[in-house]
């Protein structure tokens, strides 16, 4: 088995974005931001060049979670909120796979919110893309954990009373080594961010503003987002500065910063690389598994 952290291009064959696109026709509404997210993923995967059959793409449930089916990777469209545990099992079972996880804001920060910090702690080499539309799309427009306070939806008729989750700050706060944000309106920028995230040797989180054209607010559509966009490159942000990244992340919901907020310049070892070391160290001189019951012999 080869080293796992950075998947590299195979010289024999140059993959093109279309090699990652499946025949399945998306069920998304015309204009949904998720269309451009999947395009960015095709392009990023092609740039990296790992074969689709060496890629595993896991999601939960939601409009956004349909995404693995639109790729030619080994896909797993699981249950609501649980993409990350499944992705971790896959990564540990076969660290050589390129493992991607994706889903909605509800999937990742409401029902599945408890799993995020633990994947961060374990630092497995998994890239997690949240398609953040501040709404529950699939179930037709209920309040989401990232909906701004006061948002009126079918389940918050008079406006929501709770503050939204701040995905960037949460994940930075959990101690993630790579945190970025992209926009469905900027395919090229988003592709670059996703590619960098996948190449990052360890857990990488990418929040993508991916508007819901059917249930989303005006302010969260492409036009509204553009008005508040501030590319991190334009403000000269140093992505190795974690405290600065935390500071910028505060403005989630008010300003829209695109680019890499934080990238640990000295990434710590991944969980799976430590597992490999442990396996190598302990397998020496172990009883063959056919004799494992000898452990119970009374002497």
């Amino acid at each position: 088995m080869s080293e796992t952290t950075t998947p590299t291009a195979t010289p024999e064959y140059v993959f093109l974005p279309k090699d990652y696109k499946s025949d399945l026709k998306p069920i998304w509404c015309p204009g949904c931001g998720d269309f451009s997210v999947v395009q960015a993923i095709y392009r990023a995967l092609a740039a990296i060049g790992r074969a689709p059959h060496e890629t595993a793409f896991i999601s939960g449930i939601g409009c956004s979670s349909r995404i693995p089916g639109y790729t030619t990777a080994y896909g797993f469209n699981s249950v609501h909120g649980r993409s990350l545990p499944i992705a971790q099992g896959i990564k540990l079972a076969n660290p050589d796979l390129l493992v991607l996880a994706a889903g909605g804001d509800g999937d990742g920060f409401s029902i599945g919110g408890g799993h995020v910090p633990h994947l961060v702690r374990r630092n497995m080499d998994i890239t997690y893309i949240v398609m953040d539309n501040q709404i529950y799309g699939l179930t037709k427009g209920q309040l989401s954990p990232t909906s701004p306070k006061g948002r009126m939806t079918c389940t918050s008729k008079y406006g929501s009373l709770e503050e939204p989750v701040n995905p960037l700050q949460y994940v930075l706060g959990y101690g993630a080594n790579f945190v970025a944000q992209g926009s469905a309106a900027d395919l090229i920028g988003m592709t670059a961010i996703i590619e960098e995230a996948i190449r990052f040797p360890g857990f990488a989180f990418v929040n993508i503003q991916s508007p819901c054209v059917t249930y989303g607010e005006e302010s969260q559509q492409i036009k509204g987002l553009k008005a508040i966009t501030e590319p991190l490159a334009a403000i000269g942000h140093d992505s190795s500065d974690r405290m600065k990244a935390m500071e910028i992340a505060q403005y989630y919901g008010q300003k829209f910063h695109t680019g890499v907020l934080y990238r640990n310049p000295n990434p710590p070892p991944t969980y799976e690389s430590q597992v490999k070391e442990r396996q190598a160290a302990l397998s020496q001189g172990a009883l063959p598994k056919e004799q494992i019951l000898d452990l119970f012999i009374k002497r």
Binding site: R66, G75, F76, G114, H115, H118, A286, K289, L293, K298
Partner: protein, 596 residues
Amino acid sequence: MRKDLVFGMAGSGGDGIVSAGESLLNAAAAEGYHGMMTKSFGSQIRGGESSCRVRISTEHLLNPGGDLDVAVALNWEDFLKFGAELPVSGSTVVIYEAATKVEPENIPLLGVTPLQVIAVPISEMAKATAGTERAKNTVVLGLIAGWFGIGREAVLAGFRKKLAKKGEDVLAANERAFNEGIKFAEEHPLKAPMTIALSKGAVSGKLMTDGNDMCAAAAIFAGCQFFSGYPITPSTEIMQFFGEHVWKYGGAMLQAEDEIAGIGAAIGASFAGKKAMTATSGPGLSLKTEMMGLASIAELPLVIVDVQRGGPSTGMPTKPEQSDLFAAAFSAHGDVVRPILAPTCVADTFRITVEAFNLAEEFQTPVIILSDQEISQRKETLDPIDTSQFKIVNRLRASATDLQDYNRFKITESGISPISIPGMLGGTYLASGIEHNEDGSPTASGDVHQRMNEKRIRKFEPLHNRRDLFSIEGNPTAPLALVAWGSIAGVCSEAVSIAREEGLNVKLLVPYLVYPIAEGVYREFFASVQRGLVVEQSHLGQFYRLLRMYVDLPKGVESMARSGANPFRPSEIVVVLHRLLAELQHSQAGKLQPQE
């Protein structure tokens, strides 16, 4: 001379009563006896009441025994908390701490007159010989060696090993306390001697372990390379075993953030081609249900261990019960069949666990092992197991031909579709919890759903003919019958032996495959039956009710059910069998009356 002795001992946490039980069991095993030990605790983490029951025999043991032959109470308050778990009868010798200041004729055991009651100044003897009350348990071991003939040499040999690090002084103090116990016993002989017969001699290669360790070891033997779960009593030792050993076999153990993540990671590992397992107890099983459905519809092999404890909710974490059967069979929504296997003792936990992996792989399905607190935490001496006897099944992998035009969920005659795993060229597909076409693409077609449900359930048909997953004891054409599963099966097996010795024509059916119900096996078994009992430790009688869903039980078959932590004794089952026989004879006598 006795073939078999059952000891029940209780004290408070600091008394070391459980460690005395362990020393006794080890000593008995070293002397060639068969032994079994169960522990029971109050719910306090430290210092609460604790007890153990040690059964020692010259023969192979099936259960921890009924009434105690010997009861040891270091104080009465703690002893009484165990109630029916430590039953004293007219044939019990009761040994208790004299410092409790209770007169032998006033011991607080209502309604029984034990065979003999002896007050022993246990703590005084400990202090006088070892200089500390903490040697009380060692004095108890000396009393047992003196009165019942177990462990005279082996206990001391055990001490030498166990206390080697603590230095000569500690060892010598313990030896003095032990000898003081023996001396007391010799100076106060029992009214009716109760020494155990000589064992058939020590057998080399004998094993000693509990159900949880056995389960984990069997899983690794079966090829399991991934475990993830969340700690919960009484299943945690399975995770601990994996955490210590699985790495040696190229595998990994993940302590997940909750039970959902635990089963999720195991499903992921299975998707990626590894044999995977998760283990839990009642509350965790409740959390895992949505994911169990996912594994069923995505047709991924997976073994889930549920070590049952008293429920519902937190219930009684440290006590056994058989009340998770409905949850195991029916939780997770949708039309699903999920095989359930149940071991009946530590020894067969090996076979059942290997079988669970084989079924999971063969049928590409989650399989539940329903163990219980008693099996999982009781220690047994076991004969060596020849692992070369066991067949290991691996999932049907997609062949090169399958991969030319691959349909992961292809509807085949057997209902089993060749499976690809990530990394296989040509095998990519979408695994999903959403209903899917044969190629894995999502669908909302009623027609496809119908055909897929049919496939996913049809594939289990061969399970209905797995007669090797049942055992029948006694006369196959007997009119009297018992049915029991899990740890209660061992109690019933002993009850059947006793009843047969008493001349009853009775048989016992033990299903290791608890679900799906193999209707044919039961129909055949019940053909001769006119009176019978389904014995189980569930207030509702869940197994009895589950059987009735699928099988027309003969009218005379009753449920004998009770809540957990209230053990069955072989003797009480025999009493009921006598009653059933009398009823049967009565009704037949009625039939023989001349008709006018």
